[in-house]
Symmetry: C2
Subunit: 245 residues, 2 copies
């Protein structure tokens, strides 16, 4: 009986991957992941078997990796950011549970720096208070539920972090969410957009709720919308925790 | 003009701190932080100046560290987990903004594995869908707002992660939140409680919404409450992302 380790590799640079994650990758027989993310760890995987597949082939990729583990190999499945946040951790468990107990591989999860944490660090300190994380991809979630969640988050004055805000085929969702948030929040609420946090092509924009959908946003962007106390100063976005100074 | 680097050291083991965080600590002249967390990185700080203070002295500690940086020293301020999530990132910015531009130290934030990510990895994959993070400490936030946020999160069927669920002087908040969540969610909803994730004294409990307040919970615990799809199997808590298998 083998083992599959599901690893969050962090934002992309080896400098922001934990030693625990790195050691697990270096010890693996087989490395699986979305091809774009495999490239980030290229120098660690020399000579090992790689299962690299494109976007939208998550289930096939996970099935293959779990099968390798069930056959006795040491397999790792990588996700960018943290594997437990819109990554592969859940799917690997679900597929592993499909094996009878005798042949089911062990599953271990190694946490990584998630995209929202990396983006927040680039913007300043926008997540310092209660926050929600919502994916705007309606591929696996009813769009009505996503809109409802956004409205409730706005009513609760949460800081709101959006994953998958936009893709080539999904361009309208962000506009609908914008309109929902504008019903409850000030149009001047600070909004930060970060693309490729901690990578060489990192880009950050700080704007406001009224205008942020005019900026360039894609599937690699994280959008963080402040709460009613969030402020911007000298290009830094800060949500106060509430300390008296 | 000096620099202060605010660092998330992760859950506590050096194995889960990024090389970027470690390098910044090793390069520092002065290291500041809550004494309990300073101990986690003891072996990295030999011979350097340490500003270690107790809980509840955050403002004094940050003022001292920022002052050292303003005087030209390389200072680091450490938080456990991620400094941008209920950590010191915001406070350091706020204090630095109190200095005139000429003497204001540069501030850099280095993200860490946050407590909620570490706890999720221990439990399985509970955060795989939209989630909220709420602190139950009402020291800096009106209790009414915290309760309102919990109710809205429950109505949105978010996965709910609770920081600071209980302390010696604050024992009733968790019961009130329990009663609010019970109004909207099934009593059978899976709940995971993790204390000291990834440390030698790590402890995890998986129970349900009806019963979880009967378990031992303290200020070092993270509580993760599932959404309506979250299930428990073989001691693992999983929130499905929605893939068809």
């Amino acid at each position: 009986m083998g083992k599959i380790t599901v690893i969050g590799i962090g934002p992309g640079s080896l400098d922001e991957m934990t030693p625990r994650a790195r050691a697990a990758i270096e010890a693996a027989d087989v490395i699986a992941g979305f091809t774009t993310y495999i490239k980030f760890i290229d120098e660690l995987i020399k000579g090992r078997e790689v299962i690299g597949t494109g976007m939208m082939q998550e289930v096939d990729r996970c099935r293959l990796a779990v099968k390798c583990a069930a056959e006795g190999k040491k397999a790792v499945m990588i996700s960018s950011g943290d594997a437990g946040i819109y990554g592969m951790a859940g799917l690997v468990y679900e597929i592993a549970f499909g094996y009878p107990q005798e042949t089911r591989p062990e599953v271990e999860i190694i946490a990584g720096i998630s995209a929202v944490n990396a983006a927040a660090a680039v913007l300043g300190a926008p997540l310092m208070h209660d926050f929600v994380v919502i994916s705007l991809s309606d591929r696996l979630t009813p769009w009505g539920l996503i809109k409802k969640r956004a409205a409730l988050a706005a009513q609760g004055d949460y800081v709101i972090a959006l994953y998958n805000p936009k893709s080539k085929s999904r361009v309208k969702n962000i506009d609908e969410i914008h309109d929902i948030l504008m019903q409850y929040k000030s149009p001047e609420t600070p909004v930060g957009i970060v693309r490729s946090a901690s990578r060489s092509d990192e880009r950050k924009i700080i704007t406001n709720l009224r205008d942020f959908t005019n900026e360039e946003i894609d599937m690699f962007s994280i959008v963080i919308i402040g709460n009613s106390k969030t402020f911007v100063r000298d290009g830094v976005m800060v949500t106060p925790r509430g300390y008296k100074l």
